[in-house]
Subunit: 139 residues, 3 copies
């Protein structure tokens, strides 16, 4: 059994879904990981990690639109507004989704479905550098 | 330390919560797993895995009703509508819940609370065959 | 590789966010855990575990207010109302957030971001004793 860590930096350019499935698969290949758990955790509370469909890009647009309607960027609705109209909604969207995902690896293959991709869901409007910890535990 | 994998197929007959706690416990018993992590991941983005109350079936009805009101099946609201009025809402419900759950196992016992059950939450209206990967890692 | 379990009891006094980051870090220190996965799971479906900002307490107030608006405590909206107006909303809030979180540990350090804290999110109005299982798996 072994453990490996990697601090991935993902640059975001405003509210959007950023796929990073390929980078994760490349890290697995480079390290020759075979079987185990890959624990991914984002070190922020205004962006999320989600597994979503990667076939039709319209799904991602609909997700962004939906979450914006569900959690409006309206400063009058929140007490915490000093960091901008998009900050408190970003924390709420983070609570409604996930900070962390554990994925299974078998025979060197990341066990995702045919249409599943790994995304960083950025909820802030400005550019950010996001840290996503990759932790492999297995053989 | 050992790892075991099992690809469970769960047949769903439309939007509902399908409990599969007993199947998981049976798999644990059959393999004589003692202590470790059981990572469950659904290989789809239009159905979810959740832990919910298994005492009163009305809780499940209320959950379904609530999510239908929160994410309406109205094609005018979404760009991605080619796969039916229930498809984009299913992706959104998936984002609002979970694709994956990690459960702890101690002395052969799955550590769930008294009223907790494991459910596949099907968001689509038609019948589906859902793949849920069971990955045990422990001893 | 070793595994350790701890059944933490957290007393809650009504709907609120209760931080328990320090207790987790203390448990890690006391046991001299170095590298591995810490799987936390709450044994109830009317309270959640979330990672949220621990800098400005207003963020927590806004989260509570938001979830109360999103899931109203109005018995007319739910079939399951025998346990009080706050019970079914609590189950829904639990489904919208998380029952379980897996955190990574490296060189004895819990890998959380600078502003991230671990919270029990209590959704019920009355006092409760909540059981949160701590399961460490690593070295």
């Amino acid at each position: 059994m072994k453990q490996e860590f990697f601090n991935s930096k993902i640059k975001t350019k405003g509210q959007d879904l950023y796929e990073f499935t390929d980078q994760v698969i490349q890290w697995i290949k480079n390290n020759n990981f075979k079987n185990g758990i890959l624990n991914l955790s984002i070190q922020h509370t205004s962006a999320s990690l989600i597994v979503q469909e990667n076939a039709d890009p319209d799904v991602q647009k609909d997700l962004i639109n939906y979450f914006n309607k569900l959690v409006p960027m309206d400063e009058k609705l929140y007490i915490h507004s000093s960091e901008g109209k998009d900050d408190m909604p970003a924390h709420i969207k983070s609570a409604l989704t996930n900070n962390q995902i554990s994925l299974s690896l078998k025979d060197g293959k990341l066990l995702l479905g045919t249409w599943q991709g790994l995304y960083l869901f950025e909820h802030r409007l400005a550019n950010h550098n996001r840290k996503v910890i990759h932790h492999f535990f297995g053989e």
